[in-house]
């Protein structure tokens, strides 16, 4: 599903990492391990189409991500890649439904209220449809971001440190939830983390500390 070819990346000139080749198959899951500052987030952003690499290719199926023009890349990202960040970063001026319907609008997918309700009830948030985002608990906010990432039935789900601020119990719950949902949509899950608690859950692992 995702193929990385001869990728050079790094966020400063001193430290440039190279991945000669990496392939993650459909419905396989990849864990990117690394200490903070090792370039996990940068790599994740490159895979997610948010940041141009110095050189090399990111290929989705047959599609070279950075061969697309800016607007097409934006649209492709909106429709095919679900992003989950460490902090929830919801739009606090909107309700839960507003956040999700904005997601549909911005990615260019027709408004589908039934889908919004479906994905919210999957994550146990059905009755929060009209709540203001500020009124939700941290855990609920994170589940709304997961709902947002899943809304457009993405082929790839990228999660940046999703468990960093959670206790053991909740960390494994979130990982299970992400894996279940990814399997349900037949999507590839990529998690960047330094959290040793979750590393046994993944078949493909990339340890940036060893590059």
């Amino acid at each position: 599903m995702i193929r990385i070819e001869n990728l050079d990346f790094g966020y400063s000139d001193q430290k440039i990492l190279n991945i000669p080749e990496l392939e993650v198959g459909e419905s396989q899951h990849l864990m990117i391990l690394g200490k903070s500052g090792s370039g996990k987030t940068t790599l994740l952003h490159i895979i997610g189409g948010l940041l141009n690499p110095r050189s090399g290719k990111v290929v989705f199926g047959d599609l070279d991500l950075y061969g697309l023009n800016a607007n097409k890349l934006d649209r492709f990202r909106g429709q095919n890649i679900g992003l989950i960040f460490q902090k929830s970063h919801l739009i606090s001026a909107l309700t839960v439904e507003g956040n999700l319907s904005l997601t549909q609008y911005l990615s260019g997918i027709p408004k589908d209220r039934a889908r919004i309700k479906e994905v919210l009830s999957d994550l146990g948030l059905a009755e929060k449809l009209n709540s203001k985002v500020r009124r939700l608990s941290q855990g609920e906010q994170q589940r709304v971001t997961i709902a947002r990432a899943l809304l457009n039935r993405p082929k790839v789900i990228l999660a940046d440190e999703p468990t960093a601020s959670l206790d053991d119990d909740n960390a494994s719950k979130v990982i299970k939830l992400l894996k279940n949902q990814a399997n349900k949509y037949n999507a590839t899950l990529v998690i960047a983390t330094h959290d040793q608690r979750v590393k046994d859950e993944f078949d493909v692992q990339l340890d940036l500390n060893q590059l």
């Binding site: 607007n71 934006d74 990202r77 992003l83 001026a93 909107l94 609008y105 260019g108």
Partner: protein, 414 residues
């Protein structure tokens, strides 16, 4: 959800900030609207009332006063001129028509104007009921006079000396209402028209009380339709409204009058232009003030957007990550500025009209001149365009910042 709704939700989430910006904007727009309505209507009314009058000839004094008193009927007359001298002037071949006016009396604040039917026709007057006056002491009255004094055909009244309410009554000369004019929205609405002889009679009674020769029977006016009335060498009129036969009149006539007679000539067009240039200083100052308010409101919108976007850079980066193009974010921020200024502009529009109406009902004179808040002028469309323009200007820099959002950079800073 769409961009407009998204921007609206952000605006709603900061009610106080929005209130301040909308208030500033609407205040500026309201002042401009009031000035616009006032000057447009005043301009219209003045040009309506001076239409067809090339020159006013009357007693020496202030030319502006001559115009204000004899054309617009809002100032005191400059004095009287001899009938004979006026008659001599009308024989000049440059003059096409000369309408005589005899002012000086009022009935409960409404001016009694001695003149002839030409004056009525000059303003395209029409009768609501009754007919034009012919006999001395017969009058026709304007629609506002009829309405506010509740006068009907056949009613009689005494004129009072002077042109304000406090004058003394001429109890000997009894005017009779023979006709009521339609509402014309010009000076006719506030006037009582009669023969020049009627005005003389009201005054002669004081001086020649003993003669008693003006008996019961009515006298036909000597020039009720057109021209100047017969009269002896002591008789006077207040002024003449003159129309030239050819444009040459404008060159020669004022000079002839001012140098070779005891009268003065004033051009309504010139004097009102002069009046406006005097008024214009004040109007311009108030208008500049209004524009300053609008600029401040634009600045205030700019500052709040600029600050808000600093807090919202994560929101913007998230929106980009969800598939929004740079252009969409740009438009989103522009919408936010424009929504505020357009709401401000619309409120200002309503406020301006309301304020004009309140001011108009507060000052009695404005009703006489016919100024109201219930009127729309074409330039108001420009005001709305200005609102949109201020919104765009205030938000263009913040919008450009939003356009340049570095998604990865912002999202990595968690």
């Amino acid at each position: 959800m769409n961009l407009l709704l998204l921007s609206w939700n952000y605006i709603k989430s900061k009610p106080l900030n929005t209130l301040l910006n909308v208030l500033l904007m609407s205040l500026g727009i309201a002042i401009i609207i009031v000035l616009l309505l006032f000057s447009t209507q005043l301009d219209n009314k003045l040009s309506q009332n001076q239409r067809g009058i090339d020159l006013v000839v009357g007693a020496k004094g202030s030319p502006l006063q001559l115009i204000l008193a004899n054309v617009f009927h809002i100032d005191f007359p400059t004095g009287n001129v001899k009938l004979d001298e006026a008659k001599r002037l009308t024989r000049n071949r440059l003059i096409k028509t000369a309408i005589p006016l005899a002012l000086g009396d009022n009935y409960r604040g409404y001016r009694i104007v001695g003149t002839n039917h030409d004056y009525f026709n000059l303003y395209n007057g029409e009768m609501e009921e009754g007919e034009l006056w012919r006999y001395n002491l017969e009058t026709i009255i304007g629609s506002k006079v009829a309405e506010s004094l509740d006068l009907k055909i056949g009613d009689t009244f005494f004129g009072a000396h002077g042109i304000s309410v406090e004058g003394m009554d001429h109890e000997e000369a009894t005017y009779e209402v023979v006709g009521i004019m339609k509402q014309m929205n010009n000076v006719l609405d506030n006037l009582i028209l009669t023969n020049i002889e009627s005005v003389w009679m009201a005054h002669e009674h004081e001086e020649e009380h003993e003669e008693g020769e003006h008996a019961e029977e009515k006298q036909l006016g000597s020039a009720y339709e057109t021209g100047l009335p017969d009269g002896d060498e002591d008789d006077e009129i207040t002024s003449m409204l003159i129309q030239y036969r050819s444009p040459l009149g404008a060159v020669q006539m004022p000079r002839i009058v001012n140098s070779s007679t005891n009268m003065q000539a004033a051009s309504p067009a010139f004097e009102t232009a002069r009046l406006f240039s005097l008024l214009g200083i004040g109007v311009n100052m108030i208008r500049s003030f209004a524009y300053i308010i609008i600029i401040v409101s634009g600045l205030s919108i700019f500052i709040s957007l600029y600050n808000a976007l600093k807090d919202r850079k994560y929101d913007l980066a998230i929106m980009r990550s969800l598939g929004a193009s740079r252009g969409k974010l740009f438009v989103h921020v522009i919408f936010e500025g424009v929504i505020i200024t357009v709401i401000g502009g619309l409120i200002g529009l309503v406020l301006g009209h309301g304020l004009m109406e309140v001011l108009a009902s507060y000052y009695e004179k404005s009703e006489e001149v016919g100024i109201t808040g219930y009127i729309f002028v074409n330039q108001e469309v420009w005001i709305l365009l200005i609102s949109v323009g201020v919104g765009v200007l205030a938000s263009i820099l913040p919008a450009f910042n939003a356009y340049r959002t570095d998604i990865s950079g912002v999202l990595a800073q968690q």
